[in-house]
């Protein structure tokens, strides 16, 4: 006998997001044009990529560097810039202790250097700007979320967007000048006077879920695995449906 049991697909690819397989397969030359210091440990690297097919906020790319002996290192990085920045892509990279790729970016790279990229990749974490977005990020996990916030601003979108971002201290908060009324900053080690120090908590998340927009929130969580586990549990405990939480984990 045959049996055609179909598994539940509550965790499904959003049908409204198309991913270009062709763009994902082709390596392109990206030329570094600008380096902007964000924090003592993070900088933004701006590239010209003439044939970039465009991306949705939340997508990432693969980047590769090649040594003279043919050795290749490749890494996935979230895209920080918004899609309307045509022909350009920005990445914000932490200087990872002993990191061979981030180390090259932070100590060797200068405008005019060329690297190779392919993408954009993966539509799962992407946000096309059509649904209310509740964004939780920590450290450099805020990078793909900033792409969403920038698109929200650049296009003057009216769909609700809220961001809760966690950093060790104000000095380590990436994109600090760009946050507005939509953002709550949480500091885990030291905070400005009058701001409590501590981990992201139910008190940050529950009020946002209490102000349910029409159609409910689409939640995006990005950061270290420890943060992702913690933040996604806060969301579930506050009532956010599991199948409307998308997670991007950095290691």
């Amino acid at each position: 006998m045959t049996d055609t049991f179909a598994p539940a697909t509550r965790f499904a690819v959003p049908g409204r997001i198309a991913v270009s397989n062709r763009a994902a397969a082709v390596w392109q030359t990206a030329t570094l044009t600008e380096i902007r210091r964000e924090t003592p440990h993070a900088s933004t690297f701006r590239f010209v990529v003439p044939d970039w097919a465009g991306h949705l906020p939340g997508q990432h790319l693969m980047l590769r560097l090649r040594a003279e002996d043919g050795y290749v290192a490749q890494r996935h990085y979230s895209i920080a810039s918004h899609p309307d920045d045509a022909g350009h892509v920005e990445l914000t990279l932490d200087h990872v202790e002993g990191g061979e790729v981030s180390g090259w970016f932070h100590t060797v790279a200068r405008p005019g250097d060329e690297v190779e990229v392919r993408g954009p990749l993966s539509g799962f974490f992407a946000w096309p700007g059509d649904r209310p977005a509740l964004l939780l990020g920590a450290g450099s996990g805020v990078v793909p979320l900033m792409s969403m916030l920038r698109q929200h601003r650049a296009r003057g979108l009216s769909v609700p967007l809220r961001l809760v971002v966690s950093a060790r201290s104000p000095e380590e908060l990436i994109y600090t000048r760009e946050y507005g009324a939509e953002t709550t900053a949480v500091f885990t080690r030291s905070a400005p006077k009058g701001v409590p120090v501590g981990r992201m908590a139910a008190a940050h998340v529950a009020p946002l879920l209490a102000e349910q927009p029409a159609g409910g929130w689409e939640a995006y969580v990005c950061g270290s695995n420890g943060f992702a586990e913690h933040a996604s549990r806060l969301l579930v405990e506050a009532g956010q449906p599991v199948d409307r939480i998308r997670i991007e984990r950095f290691g």
Partner: protein, 201 residues
């Protein structure tokens, strides 16, 4: 591909066990999953094999543990470019489950699906002949939830997104049916030695 000015990479010795484009993650075991880690107790875990088989069957935790145990010791490779050497998993070979359900000769592919709804597709020949396991132990201990515990699929000769966490079942088909990441632009098969990362590679 051109040389990146000033890039030397970390000191390296050639390692025959490292597929192209991969680096040795050492003691790290990065967690990569796009969904909320489910709170799934062994008592609530089930594993079903159906589709093009003689005898569809669902096993619970106890029944699955009554099958002959089988271990994997070797390497694993993630598409995000880390590899991990000499890992040890304990569980049951998928062959033991197939011996019970008896696949039809027409079955050519499987869709693996998880208790979270995640899916991934594989050719049947990639999960038979001692090449795939249901794994519930890592390094002699229960598999941690964030790595797919209580039980995950293990197909170590392919990129690790094929090794579905929180495995709930396999459906045997007479055709290929792209799963979650495959619909998101990832390669249909995912052989690390041929760098089958994305569709079109």
């Amino acid at each position: 591909m051109h040389v990146t000015r000033g890039f030397t990479g970390r000191p390296r010795v050639p390692d025959a066990g490292l597929p192209p484009g991969q680096y040795d993650a050492g003691d790290d075991w990065p967690v990569l999953s796009a969904e909320v880690t489910p709170d799934l107790a062994p008592a609530d875990w089930t594993f079903r094999v159906d589709g093009l088989v003689e005898q569809p069957r669902t096993w619970d935790w106890t029944q699955a543990h009554e099958l002959p145990s089988s271990a994997y010791e070797g390497d694993i490779h993630c598409v995000t470019s880390w590899s991990k050497f000499g890992v040890r998993f304990g569980g049951v070979s998928l062959d033991a489950f197939f011996d019970v359900v008896r696949p039809h000769v027409s079955a050519t592919h499987v869709v693996a699906y998880s208790h979270t709804g995640y899916t991934t597709n594989l050719p049947l020949e990639d999960v038979t002949g001692g090449r795939a396991w249901i794994a519930w132990e890592y390094d002699g201990k229960p598999l941690p939830a964030e790595h797919g515990g209580p039980a995950r699929l293990l197909v170590p000769h392919l990129y690790f997104w094929k090794s579905a966490k929180w495995i709930a079942g396999l459906r045997l088909l007479d055709h290929d049916e792209p799963g979650f990441w495959e619909q998101n632009g990832y390669h249909g098969r995912g052989n690390p030695w041929e760098e089958q990362r994305y569709s079109g590679d």
